[in-house]
Amino acid sequence: MDTLTLVAPTPPSSRWYRRAQAKKRGFGTPSWFAIPLLAFFGGIVAVPTLLGVYYAFTDWDGLSAVPQFIGFGNFIELFQQPKTMTALGNTVLIAVCVTVVQNGIGLALAAGVNSRIKSRNVLRTLLFAPVVMTSIIVGYLWQFLFVPNGPIAQIAEVFGIENLNMLGNPKTAIWGVIIVVVWQHAGYSMVIWLAGMQGIPEEITEAAALDGAGSWKRFVHITWPLLRTPLVINLTLSLISSFKLFDQVMATTQGGPGYATQTLSTLLYFEAFQFNNFSSGIALGVIVFVLTAVISFSQMYLFRDRNAS
């Protein structure tokens, strides 16, 4: 905290002196500029999060004033319950599938939009629109599309699939959720890929074209290797946001049927607010945090390593 209470030295009056001082150490910015920000950060983020992490190791029920410290009790109890393992498995499956499919589709769309086609600006806008929409609304929109005898069931019938009940069937429900998330965020991936593609100087691809490289070869040998930054951003963003997935599940399946689409975040909500197991709920939050931290750091490490060699 001592850095916070530092006060800028009172400026001596002579301009010459001030200028000499500035040369010597540069003008600092007084720390009081950051006091409101750090107060908010401390009060709303840091202290409650640290308290939460502590509560994860206690038997806190949200009411008792003095929770008992029980070590890893909550975690052991959670991992002994099949529903936790199901939620963990679902979360990982969703995260991996969403990351691969969303970024794959996003890349294809970006390549298509980053061309000479006349409709590129209109298409880019339309494809991005779902990103800004409220995810709970997107969830209900798709719940209707997936309803038995609804639009998608009718389209599936044309392809010979009878009585499709995507979200009602425990086997298919999770794929329904994945489709919803991919639909909403593919435009986001597209825009990040696009920003990377537009940073590639046109001379490089033109030179390759003159040397007779077709568009596929140009993409594989020139564009793709230069897309490392958007690749890292896209992977990190989609993995982290799917590990925290909550809204779309609440709107489409509420974690059902049974536990078929329960994610760590929905389980956290039900544990804490339906069953009043506050400390187990927070323990689930800590598990989500450990997962995201491991993913983020391993991605940073992997990509830094490759760049260095």
Binding site: F27, I44, L109, S115, W183
Partner: protein, 274 residues
């Protein structure tokens, strides 16, 4: 390479077809609300035969969307305003402090990006209950500010670091106080990044569901996402009315998006490079 060849035409057609598949759910969002429930049940993909606003009136009145809009707007505007003020000034210290203290604090705040806010949300719930703020939009505003602080700081600090310090130093040499240098010299240069901060945080706060669900559900002042969550439950299978509500609830964001699409897409694309 720059000519429009037959290959470009094929690509154009393929892309338009792909976009049509992609946009189909949006077309459903617009069309279903204009059709009576019985007709939707019979033929879910039908085209509206007339502009029927019954569903919209019903959803607006029974769904109490009007007051939900006001609550959402209040929470979003106040949160974003505070984020801009404390984010810009705090980041100015992080980027320009003498020595390493500023960047240390920056690293701590930026690391908040990775922490799921649910961990802190439960203890906060207890704290807010103690001070009587559960059910009060103020609690949602305070916590929204906390949630979006790390991104705001990352955006502002990255931007300020790229501004050469000579401008402020010249002003300081001429006797400006640190506040004057910040207000008159730095703030005017922050306009582009402030636009990005407003867009990303505004959309983030407006769309947030978990937080207002915990703090506001069951009260008179709920936000749009919580209200939508509530009335879908109440309407059962009356998809016409539900979709009228969904369309009205998504209109403000969609209209703003289509008006400022170029700028918004740029914000989302560039905002995360820092």
């Amino acid at each position: 390479m720059n000519r429009y060849t037959w290959k470009t035409l094929v690509l154009e057609i393929v892309m338009i077809l792909a976009a049509a598949v992609f946009v189909f759910p949006l077309w459903m969002l617009i069309s279903v609300g204009f059709r009576p429930a019985a007709e939707v049940a019979k033929n879910p993909m039908g085209i509206p035969t007339s502009l029927n606003f019954d569903n919209f009136v019903g959803a607006w009145v029974e769904g109490e969307l009007g007051s939900a809009f006001l609550t959402s707007a209040l929470i979003t505007v106040v949160s974003v305003l505070v984020l801009v003020v404390i984010g810009a000034s705090g980041s100015y210290y992080f980027a320009r402090s003498r020595g390493v203290a500023g960047m240390r604090w920056y690293a701590i705040v930026a690391a908040g990006m990775m922490v799921p806010f649910q961990i802190g949300l439960l203890p906060l719930y207890r704290i807010m209950a103690n001070v009587g703020l559960t059910g009060n939009p103020i609690a949602v505003i305070l916590i929204s500010i906390g949630i979006h602080l790390p991104l705001t700081v990352i955006l502002y600090t990255g931007f300020i670091k790229k501004i050469p310090p000579e401008y402020e130093e010249a002003a300081r040499v001429d006797g400006a106080t640190p506040f004057q240098a910040f207000w008159r010299i730095v703030v005017p240069m922050l306009m582009p990044i402030t636009g990005t901060v407003i867009i990303l945080n505004g959309i983030g706060v407006w769309n947030e569901f978990f937080l207002p669900l915990l703090y506001l559900s069951g009260t008179d002042s709920v936000t749009i996402p919580v209200r939508v969550y509530g009335f879908v439950g109440e309407y059962g299978a009356d998809w016409g009315k539900i979709f009228a509500g969904l369309l009205m609830a998504s209109l403000p964001v969609l209209v703003l998006f289509f008006l400022f699409q170029r700028y918004m897409i740029k914000s989302f694309g560039s905002g995360l490079k820092g």
